[in-house]
Symmetry: D2
Subunit: 261 residues, 4 copies
C-alpha cells in the first residue's frame, strides 16, 4: 500500500450521457463528482473508471494500484462483463476494499459477494431522507452528528434482502414513512465491504458535504490491512503431513494432481 | 410443509459409474446410500436426483416438493447448468434448507450463496478423522458423544475460505496433523445452510452410523420455518406512501415502471 | 418439552400499583395483559411471575417448567437479585428462550447476556410508531403485513448500544423523526433471545392485536430445540486422552482437581 | 492516540510468587515476559499492572493512557474487584482493545463482555500444540506460516462456550487428540477483543517467538479507531424532535428527568 490510499471510483456513466436531468447535476459524470469529494481529503489518490472503457477500466494493472473501489451503477448492471466481476471479486477477497453506492445494491459484484437478492422497495418522489448514526464511535460515522438530512432523495425501504451485516451504521427515516438500513458493513475473505444508500441520479446528493464525508470515512475504513492471501486450495503430499502417516485405502487422484473444481 | 420433511438427495453420480473403487462401496451411487441413511428415520420422505437427469432432476415440480436439499458433487461441478443453480439459489433464499457435503465445498451453489472461494487444503491418505462437537446442545449434534471418529477419510485442512459461520458445530482433528471446521451453519435469506465435511468417495463414510445421524439431524434443523418470501423489489407509488407526500424533483422512470436490474 | 410451549411472563409490577395512569390500562398488571395475549393461542401454557414474589417468582421449579421467559421491567431493574439473574442466565445458555420487552433493554439479564450498555435515546410524547418488517418470511413476522402502526408510543431512537444482532426483524419509524431497530435476535449458548421494542406503560400497547401476534410468534421461535447442555469445564485425565500421550513438564494441579474459576 | 500504541499488560502475578515451577520460567512475573515480547517491536509503549496494586493497577489515569489491555489471570479471578471490571468494560465499549490470554477465558471481564460461560475441557500433560492459521491474510496472522507449534502446552478442548466469533483465526491440534478455537475475535461496542489460547504458567510459552509475534499483531489490530462514544441514554425533549410533534397521552416522567436504570 502506498502512503496515500488509492481509490478507484467506478461509474456506469450512462444516465449522464442520455438524460439532461442528470447531466445538469453531474456534467462530467457522477463518478467525477464522487471522485471530487474524495479529492477534498489529502489521504487519497483518486482515479476513475467507467463501463465504456476497455475492460470497464478495471484492468489488472488498475486493480494492482487500487486499495479501495467505489461502485455506482443502475441501468446497465447487465452489461458488466462477468469476467470483470470475477476479477473484482478475487481482489475483494484478497483484501481490496469495496464501497457500493445506492442502486449498486443490484450490481453483479454486490450480489456475487453477498449471495442474496439484495432487493428492496423504492419510490422516486424527491422526499426528505434523514440518516441516523447507529454507532457514533465508528470510523465511518466520524464528523457526522447524531443524524444528517438529504433534502431530496429516492426512497429505499425495508425489507432489504441482505445477509445480516457485521454492523449497521446508518438507518434512514423517510418523509413518506419508510425506513432503511442505509449503512452496512460486511467482511468477505479479507475485503471490507461498505454499502451506503444515498445517491439517486436526479438529485445533487454527491455534492453534499456529509455524504462526501461518509464516503471518505468509508474509504479509509475499507483500505486493506494484513496481506493478500493468494488462495490456491493446495494438495498436501503425504510426506509433508506434519505428523507421519502411511497411506491407507484407495484414491482416484494421481499424486501431485490438482483437485476438481 | 407436509407432516414428513421432504428431502431431495442430489448426487453427481459420475465417479460411481467410472471407478470400480467407488462402485464397490456405493453400488447404487453415493446418493442412494445417503438417502438410505435418511430413510432410517421416520421423519423424512426421501427422493434422489442426479446430474444426468433432465434439469439435473431439480425441476420446479421437484423443488416445490422439497423442504431440504442435500448436495454431493466433485469432478463435475462445472457441468451443473447455471440456470439450475439460479433456481436452487432462489429456493434456498425462500426458505428451502441446504446441506452441502464434503467436496460440495466447491459446488457452484455453495460458492454462489457464500460469495467466497470456499477453498481449503487436502490430502488423500485414508487417515483417521476425529470430529469434535463444539455445541453439545445444538439440534445437529444430538446423539453424538463428545466426538466421533471416521477410520479412513480424506484430509481437509484450514484455511477454509468461508465467511464467518453463524455457528461452528464440529471441528476435525486429523491423524496427519491438520484441523478443519467440519460442521458450519449459515442463514441466507430464509434458507438454513449446513456444511458437513465427511464423505470422500473412496471410503465407506456414508455407511457410518454417526455420519448418518448428523445428516438426519441437519435435515431436521434445516427444514423451513416461517413462510416463503417471494422477493420482487416493488415500487411504492407516491399515493401509497404511508405518510402523505408530494413529488419534488425529476425522475427518469415512468410511473409504475419496474426498476433496473 | 411438553406438547404445549410453557411460557412464563415476568412483570416488574410496580408502576401498576403506584400510578393510576398505568392501572387504568393494565388493571391486573402488565404481565397479566401480556399473558392474556399469549393465551389467545392454543400453543402456549402460560404462567406469570413478578418481582414481589419469593425469588421474584423464578424458582428453580418454575424455570424447570419454562420453555420461554418474557421480561418486562423498568423502574426497579436494580431490585432484581443478582442470584436470580445468574439463574436465569444459566437457563438461557442451556436453551430456554428469552423475550425482552421495551424498557427491559436495561434489565440486568439483558445486559448480562449481551455484554454492552444497551442504551438508546428516548422521548415520551405518545407519538405514532410504524414498525417495518425486515424479513417477511421469518417465523417472528408471520401474520404481519409490510408494517403495522402503534397509535401512541414512547420513542426509542438510535444509537441502540447492542452487539450486532443475528437478525434485525423490525425497524421503527417514529412520527417525531427517529428510527430504531425494534426487533432483534441473538443466540447465546443454546438460548434464543428476542428483543421487541413496544410496550410503554402509559399506553395500551399490549392490548393491540399485532403486538400480541409478534410476541406469540417470538415465543414459538424462541422455544428450545436440541438438548440442555450442562456446562462443567471438565478435566480430561491423561489416561482418557483419545491419543496415547505421556505427561511432560510440571503442573500445579493435583490429578482430578477442579480448575480455577 | 499517541504515535505509539500504548499497551498495558495486566498480570494476576500470584503463581509466580508461590510456585517455584513458575518462578523459574517467569522470574519477574508472566506479565513482565509478555511485556518484554511487546517491547521487541518499536510500535508499542508498554507498561504493566498487577492484581496486588491499588485498583489492580487499572486506575482511571492508567486506562486514559491505554490503547490496548492484555489480560492473564488464573487462580485469582474471584479477587478482581467488580468495580474495576465495570471500569474496564466501559473502556472496552468505548474503544479500548482487549487481548485475553489463556486461562483468562474465565476472567470476569471476558465473561462480562461475552455473556456466556466461556468454559472448555482441559488437561495438563505438557503435550505438543500445533496452531493452524485460518486466515493467512488477517493482520493478526502476519509473519506466521501455515501453522506453528508449541512443544509443551496445556490442552484446551472443545466445546468452548463462547458466542460465535466474528472471526476464527487459529484452530489448535493437540497431540492427545483434541482441537480448540485458539484465536477468536469479537467486537463489543467500539472495542476489539482478541482471545488467544496459549500461555500455561508452567511452560515457557511467552518466551516463544511466534507467540510474541501474534500478541504484537493482536495489539496492533485491537488498537482503537474512530472515537470514544460516551454513552448516556439521553432523553430527547419534545421540542427537539426533528419533526414537529405535540405530546399526546400520559407520562410518569417529569420533563428533563433521567430514565430508569
Amino acid at each position: 500500500m502506498s502512503a496515500k490510499i488509492r481509490v478507484t471510483v467506478w461509474g456506469e456513466y450512462v444516465h449522464e450521457k442520455k438524460h439532461a436531468a442528470v447531466a445538469k447535476i453531474y456534467p462530467n459524470g457522477m463518478h467525477e463528482t464522487i471522485a471530487e469529494g474524495l479529492r477534498e481529503s489529502p489521504d487519497f489518490e483518486v482515479r476513475t473508471a467507467t463501463l465504456d472503457q476497455p475492460e470497464h477500466g478495471l484492468t489488472d494493472k488498475v486493480l494492482d494500484q487500487t486499495d479501495v473501489l467505489t461502485w455506482w451503477g443502475h441501468c446497465a448492471h447487465g452489461d458488466v462483463n462477468d469476467k470483470i466481476v470475477d476479477r473484482v471479486q478475487t481482489r475483494v477477497l484478497q483484501g481490496m476494499g469495496l464501497i457500493v453506492l445506492h442502486s449498486g445494491h443490484y450490481a453483479k459484484i454486490f450480489k456475487r459477494l453477498l449471495g442474496t437478492t439484495c432487493s428492496l422497495t423504492w419510490r422516486e418522489a424527491g422526499e426528505k431522507e434523514r440518516l441516523w448514526v447507529c454507532n457514533p464511535g465508528h470510523p465511518i460515522t466520524q464528523g457526522i452528528d447524531r443524524y444528517f438530512e438529504i433534502p431530496q432523495e429516492e426512497m429505499y425501504g425495508e425489507p432489504f434482502a441482505i445477509p445480516a451485516p457485521d454492523e449497521t451504521l446508518f438507518v434512514s427515516w423517510f418523509q413518506g414513512g419508510e425506513v432503511f438500513r442505509s449503512g452496512c458493513t460486511w467482511k468477505r475473505g479479507n475485503g471490507k465491504i461498505f454499502y451506503f444508500r444515498p445517491g439517486h441520479e436526479t438529485y445533487p446528493t454527491y455534492h453534499q458535504k456529509e455524504v462526501r464525508r461518509v464516503i471518505q470515512n468509508g474509504a479509509r475504513w475499507a483500505s486493506p490491512e494484513g496481506s493478500r492471501w493468494i488462495d490456491t486450495c493446495p494438495n498436501v503430499p503425504v510426506e509433508k503431513a506434519p505428523e507421519k502417516i502411511v497411506v491407507r485405502g484407495e484414491t482416484l487422484h494421481v499424486p501431485g494432481e490438482a483437485g476438481f473444481r
